[in-house]
């Protein structure tokens, strides 16, 4: 568990994942590329 956390904290990896997740979520919500998924 600790090793995982250390891996995620290295080079701000966790922030990169969060940023990508938020951007992807926003894009899915705004652009609505898959209307069957998010109407």
């Amino acid at each position: 568990m600790n090793q995982w956390l250390r891996f995620l904290q290295r080079k701000n990896f966790i922030y990169k994942i969060i940023a990508l997740g938020i951007a992807l979520g926003l894009w899915l919500y705004v652009a609505k590329p898959f209307p069957f998924l998010i109407p």
Partner: protein, 265 residues
């Protein structure tokens, strides 16, 4: 939405730009109190979305109505942090400004180095703040205005035990000693070494809200620490202090190295 190679490329570019912007904002907020708040807001946002999906009308209505209040509250409570983040964002230093330290800057560095060395050897408490781009006039106003030339003798005299101005910080502005006996805001961080006293907490506190370079010498141990952007490096060597000076004066291409020179607390 029609899927062509062009729309795929545009979508990837769209997501990448937004992701990069969010990533930079997260880095700016990292290690500030605002980060904890951001986590709370994210949880509320997730709850809001989920309640919408599950048609939990009342929960969704309450969360929906509270957004404006929450955002206003954030702006008021975290005004200092937000200001510091925006200042850091606007400060962005150009490569073209970098060159060698000037003669006057070298003289200041020598005077500070001498002060730190003597203070460390004799265990004299030092809190020295070098003003950066962010003005420290509010802090200068809390002390005694000196506006005098920088010399190690004068600095040591100011910090000498039982001297009237030895408590509080000395602020250097440009090549002048602006004021002594200044009161600095204490850090609200909870994850710092409990062995660190008020002097160190004040050093971290002021560096959190501005771009000043702060030096501290512990009265108990004589250990020299350097503080910048809320990060303290204890027991830092002269070589690494030089890197901090170079970075502060925009003289060197390298950033101060965190490892090897001191213990990050």
């Amino acid at each position: 939405m029609e899927w062509t190679i062009w729309t795929v490329i545009l979508s990837i570019a769209d997501i990448s730009i937004v992701a990069y912007a969010i990533y930079r904002i997260l880095l700016l907020l990292k290690d500030t109190r605002a980060m904890q708040l951001l986590k709370g807001v994210l949880i509320l946002l997730i709850l809001y979305v989920i309640s919408g999906w599950l048609h939990l009308t009342t929960v969704n209505w309450i969360l929906g109505k509270s957004w404006s209040v929450i955002l206003l509250g954030i702006a008021i409570i975290f005004q200092p942090e937000l200001r510091s983040v925006l200042e850091r964002l606007g400060r962005g230093r150009s490569f073209f400004q970098r060159g060698k330290r000037s003669y006057a800057q070298n003289r200041i560095v020598s005077a500070i180095e001498e002060t730190l060395a003597v203070a460390s050897e004799n265990k004299i408490g030092v809190l020295l703040v070098l003003e950066g781009h962010t003005g420290l006039q509010p802090q200068i106003d809390t002390g005694v205005v000196l506006d005098s030339r920088i010399s190690s003798e004068l600095l040591l005299n100011l910090f000498f035990k039982n001297a009237p101005l030895h408590d509080g910080a000395v602020i250097l502005r440009g090549n002048r000693i602006a004021a002594a006996g200044c009161i600095m805001p204490l850090t609200t961080k909870e994850d710092i070494d409990s062995m660190l006293g008020t002097r160190h907490r004040a050093a971290i506190g002021i560096s959190e809200v501005c771009d000043a370079l702060v030096f501290v010498v512990s009265e108990e141990t004589g250990i020299i620490s350097v503080v910048r952007n809320g990060n303290i490096q204890r027991g830092i060597s002269e070589k690494n202090r030089k890197r901090y000076f170079d970075d502060f004066y925009g003289a060197a291409p390298k950033k101060p190295r965190e490892a090897g020179g001191g213990k990050k607390v």
